[in-house]
């Protein structure tokens, strides 16, 4: 594999998007969580909700800032590294990403200012309203991003004029079946990510025997929300899989590591796919189950990777493993949250230290699931950047040279290592001390705090 501008640009995009997606998937859920807690505080008047809110608001502020800076980088990469993609598909992707910037980001950014600085300057109902608008804004933001990505996965409602892919039917682009499943799938992924982080934070404080009341609220809400949402998420994931089966058969075959056509098809549970030889090593498979998962019948014919021309085959190892890790994380969340419900019912939850430790260490489950879900979707789409219409290798900026592409990749890696390294330290510190001691506000905010 030669280090050409194409591969460097792909690494750069994958690197930047992988770091970026951690933050939206956290802040979408966190915004909804904050609105919920502020609502609870408004309804019940219990001070504990206000303390929990203030704590998570600080976490939100930090993750939001990091999400914004890494997100700006994302948006510009379409132009810097993928200028042919931008030119050929810009009249579809441009408005979608434009709407993301306009409606959602602005809604978030404007009401976010009130959330952060306006507690003492606005009526309580308006403050709550702002929290809701921020939550809606993050969700709207994800709608547009997913609409764009879903269109790249399964292009609909377009026509091709003079080599340019231009919009023909916006309704089909915005409300296609793929988008209407993938968007809620992503939203639930974000909610689950946040739920597990909230529960883990509660467990951590409970283990340290401090912030008793707050940790109680976090454990209850975190595990409770996860327990309710995870079955819906597994169902949605299944439907999303059906759509991949229908619209992106090559990706489906890669996820299943199914190399040849099979009837009835077996299901490979675990294996090491050997891409060069086109077969699975150390495979454990269940006969006939593959047909059932794909079609709901026990004897359907399922296509294998080798029924596609060599230049149209996606990589197999990454989608295969990423999908299994995502699914495994979903099962782990199911097990932990439901176990938590049982322990709660029995009144043992806050005394079962082993369970609190388990909950604490389950904090990254959602993040890992979201990341692996994206790896499955994005790597599985290869070698296409817009499925069936534009190949990744044809989309890269023609004027880009290897040294420049390499320099920017190295620059991003260094900058991200510094920013996210320190970011992680600050997160850790905030999570540990944010509830139990007053941390100094970020410099500057207090200059306006005392205005009447």
């Amino acid at each position: 594999m030669a280090l050409d501008p194409l591969i460097l640009s792909r690494i750069q995009f994958a690197f930047v998007v992988s770091f970026h997606i951690i933050f939206p998937s956290f802040t979408i859920g966190l915004a909804a969580w904050l609105a919920t807690i502020e609502g609870m505080s408004l309804v019940t008047g219990r001070p504990v909700y206000r303390r929990v809110f203030d704590f998570w608001l600080k976490v939100f502020a930090l993750s939001f800032a990091m999400g914004v800076v890494s997100g700006i980088v994302m948006a510009f990469q379409f132009g810097t590294n993928w200028s042919v993609l931008a030119e050929r598909t810009g009249s579809i992707q441009g408005p979608l990403l434009g709407y993301e910037a306009f409606t959602a980001f602005l809604l978030e950014a404007s009401f976010f200012g009130i959330m952060l600085l306006g507690r003492d300057r606005t009526p309580r109902w308006f403050y709550f309203f702002s929290c809701c608008m921020v939550a809606l804004g993050t969700m709207a933001s994800s709608y547009w991003i997913l609409a764009n990505n879903s269109w790249m996965q399964v292009p609909l409602g377009h026509k091709i004029v003079d080599g340019k892919i231009i919009p023909d039917d916006w309704k089909a682009i915005l409300l296609g079946p793929v988008q209407l499943i993938r968007w809620p799938h992503m939203l639930l992924g974000a909610f689950l990510t946040t739920s597990m982080c909230v529960a883990a934070t509660g467990a951590w404080h409970r283990l340290r025997n401090e912030a008793w009341e707050e940790s109680h609220v976090m454990l209850d809400w975190g595990l409770g929300l996860a327990a309710v949402l995870i079955p819906a998420q597994i169902l949605l994931g299944h439907v999303a899989g059906d759509l991949v089966h229908k619209y992106q058969p090559a990706k489906f075959a890669a996820i299943e590591a199914r190399w040849h056509d099979e009837q009835p098809a077996s299901e490979v549970l675990v294996a090491w796919p050997d891409e060069r030889a086109g077969k699975n090593l150390y495979a454990i498979s269940v006969p006939d189950l593959g047909s059932f998962i794909a079609s709901g019948t026990w004897d359907s014919k399922e296509v294998g990777v080798d029924s596609f021309p060599a230049q149209d085959r996606p990589p197999v190892v990454v989608p295969f493993w990423a999908f299994r890790i995502m699914f495994g994380m979903g099962l782990a969340i199911l097990a932990i949250s439901w176990l938590g419900l049982v322990l709660r019912t029995l009144g043992w939850l806050e005394h079962a230290r082993w369970f609190l430790w388990l909950t604490l260490f389950s904090f990254p489950t959602g993040f890992i699931a979201v990341l692996c879900g994206w790896f499955t979707a994005e790597v599985g789409r290869q070698p296409w950047v817009v499925y069936g219409l534009l190949r990744t290798k044809d989309a890269v900026t023609p004027s880009l040279t290897t040294p420049v592409a390499a320099a920017s990749l190295i620059a991003y890696i260094l900058v991200y290592a510094l920013i996210y390294g320190f970011g992680a330290v600050y997160f850790h510190r905030l999570m540990r001390d944010g509830l139990t001691q007053k941390t100094r506000a970020a410099a500057g905010y207090d200059f306006y705090a005392e205005r009447p």
């Binding site: 502020a61 800032a65 990091m66 914004v68 800076v69 700006i72 510009f76 132009g79 810097t80 200028s83 042919v84 931008a86 030119e87 810009g90 009249s91 992707q93 441009g94 408005p95 990403l97 434009g98 709407y99 910037a101 306009f102 409606t103 980001f105 602005l106 950014a109 404007s110 976010f112 200012g113 600085l117 300057r121 004029v161 231009i166 919009p167 916006w170 900026t397 023609p398 004027s399 420049v404 920017s408 620059a411 900058v415 510094l418 920013i419 320190f422 970011g423 330290v425 600050y426 510190r429 905030l430 100094r440 506000a441 970020a442 410099a443 500057g444 905010y445 200059f447 306006y448 005392e450």
Partner: protein, 338 residues
């Protein structure tokens, strides 16, 4: 209109609308983020902790919303003129990289600086990031004046095409210009010795800006034939020079007489004059001198889809938000003496 232009298709109304939105957003961005980038650079010229904290305080409620206008520009450009987006960003690959890194460091500095640890990294990142962002934005303007090498709808030049004397001069000019906006903002917002401090620096910034832009104009006259032919066709564009001179006089007079709002207001007028001059020199090109507004516009189906949601609803909301946030935090800073 000259014959060459008459043979080209006229841009549709929608394309004109979006070109107008982009021009307007660029100007709003330049003024708003300009002052907080300027404050960022001034931040690097002192080690006085109180002054530094107050400077951060003077911009912290605003910078996020100000920077939003850059996102509006980028998003509108990609949405309405994808061909321009696809040429401009590769042509300025390295400056865009520097811009983004500058914005990252500046952005996280607000969050990270007060959290302990090596705050000097974030303070340095803050002023250095601000300076780099200002420089590359100015350099991009200079490079556009010289023209961009385009073949088959894609950038066809090298990665360092933008790094020439004129862009360097316009880059330095914009650093001074943003610095002046920043000083004007601090004069406007600060009730303390920070105001006096800013008053002392403002005349140097104004003169630095004027000198570097004067030199840049001379280089433009020598090197940039595209601009010159356009200006010969549009002699009224010289009026922008006059307005610029008047504005500069207003800035210096405001500083001399210590009228707190005047330096900031007249600096904005100066930027408006410079902006109008560039518009007169570039129109109808979006990428001088190869891509026009009409040739780069997305199909009407894209432009109208964008128009009803973003143009009619979202854009006014952004505007109202910008006004509201500045109204909520209007007036001088309150120093709480912590």
């Amino acid at each position: 209109m000259n014959p060459a232009e008459m043979t080209q298709a006229a841009p549709s109304l929608l394309a004109l609308f979006w070109a107008g939105v982009i021009a307007f957003s660029i100007f709003v961005y330049v003024v708003l983020d300009g002052f907080d980038l300027g404050v960022g650079m001034l931040f690097g010229t002192t080690r006085d902790r109180d002054l530094r904290d107050e400077m951060m305080g003077a911009i912290s409620p605003f910078w996020d919303g100000n920077e939003t206008w850059l996102v509006v520009v980028g998003a509108s450009l990609f949405a309405a003129f994808p061909a321009v987006y696809a040429i401009f960003l590769p042509a300025f690959y390295l400056p865009v990289l520097l811009l983004l890194i500058g914005l990252i460091f500046r952005g996280v500095a607000f969050e990270f600086r007060g959290r302990g640890g090596p705050s000097s990294i974030w303070s340095t990142g803050f002023w250095l990031g601000s300076g780099v962002v200002a420089f590359v934005q100015g350099a991009a303007v200079g490079a556009m004046i010289l023209g961009v090498d385009v073949r088959n709808g894609q950038f066809a030049g090298g990665p360092f095409d933008w790094l020439r004397p004129l862009p360097v001069l316009t880059g330095i000019g914009l650093m001074f210009g943003y610095g002046l906006l920043g000083a004007g903002w601090l004069i406007l917002k600060s009730p303390t010795r920070l105001r006096d401090w800013a008053y002392q620096r403002a005349p140097f910034l104004a003169i630095g800006m004027a000198v570097s832009l004067l030199l840049a104009s001379l280089l433009t006259a020598i090197q940039a034939h595209g601009v010159m032919t356009r200006l010969v066709e549009r002699p009224w564009a010289a009026g922008f020079f006059v307005v610029g001179l008047i504005a500069l006089g207003g800035v210096l007079r405001g500083i001399a007489r210590r009228r707190d709002a005047q330096p900031f207001a007249f600096t904005i007028l100066f930027f408006l004059a410079a902006f109008g001059f560039l518009a007169a020199a570039f129109w109808p090109y979006m990428i001088p001198y190869s891509v026009t507004v009409a040739s780069a516009a997305a199909p009407d189906k894209s432009l109208s889809f964008l128009f009803w949601g973003a143009g009619v609803v979202a854009l006014p909301v952004v505007l109202i938000y910008s006004v509201v946030i500045h109204a909520v935090f209007r007036g001088k800073l309150q120093i709480s003496g912590h």
